[in-house]
Symmetry: C2
Subunit: 312 residues, 2 copies
């Protein structure tokens, strides 16, 4: 019957996978470590071993294909290129390797694009033809959908909202340029804001009294408890994010922008000011037309569902 | 046989029209004034009169449909909404009015989107699936094509590159916001740059000696003659445009950006520095992949060809 899909979420630490039915239910799932394998071939062999019990349970003949979401994954080539957070370097023909090992047609894309397709198939973007998916994690990923299709661009690498210059001559980014949006609006960005402001505002003694390393989760908890400093950080983050969203709305004129990831859990605390700054900066023809939504998929399953949705 | 299209370029001053064959040849054309008609109905009646001889010549039965390119034209609704440079105000159901008057299926979009489709069908973007069209006229218009389709967005109003904020808190724009790209990179923008810099740099006497009003054409001619001040203006314009193009390349990852309009005639004088600033600001994965091209359509015919290309 070939109606099931295998979704693989290939992350820097763990690889999660699941067999998904056409309605978006994960029938069975599992995970393994991405690291600790001497070579890519060893990783593929371990993945194959982990998948055998899933194949036995649902019947491998019922699986129509495999979808992989991976950092720096390219839909057109099926390759993962120079992913800084994965254990392998250079260009890995991951779709080809998995397809050969499993004997199943395999499609690969980057994690944010997989999330966009997952939302369109099963989540908050069901029935939408024009929306933007934004993943707010360690970095900021995105997938743009127009006319009901994901925009891959000429080379499969479209949709790098995290590397739009949000602040001209702003913070140094890992990409080598300055002022990229993800240096402000991401878990990493929020911590940088907090650390910079603390260094500017507080004296040595206060800073020493501040015990241990700051995390985005700590700032989120503090903001939730009404901490003025944490709320000011959220306001600033919302301003940079809202301004930049207003600019990209002018490109694709989406019905909605859908957020996923740890920082998105801040909810209204972040998105009420994001919406305000976005609206303040929108060209009049777009005002009051773009809905900000939280992902419609459960956190633990979203990446597997997204990956499964690109299988064909 | 129904293989011909009628293209209408509805501009603020003139309305041009032509009958176009499937290969993009204009078989017969004409024009009339857009202004001087008491009502929209009078304008439509005049248009109908002007079109009669064209219909007689090619046989109206051979025309499959009408395409109109117009400022603020909406592809989805067929309406022209609040166009500041047209004689009629409010919302004009132009596609419906023309369709009823001529008895032909009529499609309408804005002029830059029509230009994009014209380039894809007949011009520099033939065979391309992912490109950006940029019209550099009085303002800056754009059309984004992804996966071989024009991006209309949720409401038909996508593709307002001219109103991306290029300079935060920059020049006041007619749209009511500040720093829009078209206040820098357009015929209007170039003149503003020149006037601002002259006011800053020269004394009253020198300014009074400068006879008459500055135009973008004068600046272009001066730059072509090697005038340092004019070349500095081009360099600055190229910087703002190149930086902003680098940001939007990260959204749609196009194969090419195609330029049309008076300012685009500056050629290498403008586009050599635009390319340099764009490349300097591109995320590494997009470097050396995006070609800057001049429109492949003759100036006088491009708007008619573009409009005819949306007829269906």
């Amino acid at each position: 019957m070939e109606s099931l899909s295998l979704g693989i979420d290939l992350g820097g630490t763990n690889t999660s996978f699941g067999i998904v039915d056409p309605q978006g239910h994960i029938l069975i799932k599992g995970k393994m470590s991405t690291t600790g394998h001497a070579t890519v071939a060893d990783y593929i062999a371990a993945l194959q071993q982990h998948l055998l019990p899933l194949f036995e349970q649902v019947g491998k003949g019922n699986i129509k294909g495999v979808g992989i979401g991976a950092p720096n994954g390219n839909f057109f080539t099926g390759e993962i290129k120079f992913a800084p957070n994965l254990p392998w370097h250079g260009i890995i023909p991951m779709a080809k390797l998995v397809s050969e090992a499993l004997g199943l047609k395999t499609t690969l894309t980057n994690d944010a694009k997989a999330a966009a397709i997952g939302e369109m198939r099963y989540g908050a973007a069901k029935g939408m033809k024009d929306f933007i998916m934004v993943t707010l994690g360690t970095g900021l990923g995105s997938g743009f959908v127009a006319n009901g299709q994901l925009i891959y661009g000429h080379d499969g690498l479209a949709g790098e909202l995290g590397h739009v210059i949000a602040v001209r001559d702003g913070r140094k980014c890992n990409c080598g340029r300055n002022g990229c949006l993800e240096r402000y609006a991401s878990a990493t960005g929020i911590v940088i804001t907090a650390e910079q402001w603390m260094a500017e505002r507080y004296d040595e003694t206060t800073l020493r009294a501040h015990d241990g390393k700051l995390t985005a989760k700590m700032i989120q908890d503090a903001a939730r408890n009404g901490d003025a400093f944490a709320l000011e950080i959220y306001e600033y983050t919302a301003k940079i994010l809202g301004q930049t969203l207003a600019d990209v709305v002018a490109i694709t004129s989406p019905q909605a922008i859908i957020f996923f990831g740890g920082l998105a859990h801040a909810g209204d605390m972040l998105f009420t000011p994001v919406k305000r700054y976005m609206e303040d900066n929108l060209l009049h023809i777009y005002k009051d037309k773009v809905t900000l939504l939280h992902s419609g998929l459960p956190d633990a399953d979203a990446a597997i569902l997204g990956a499964s949705a690109i299988a064909c």
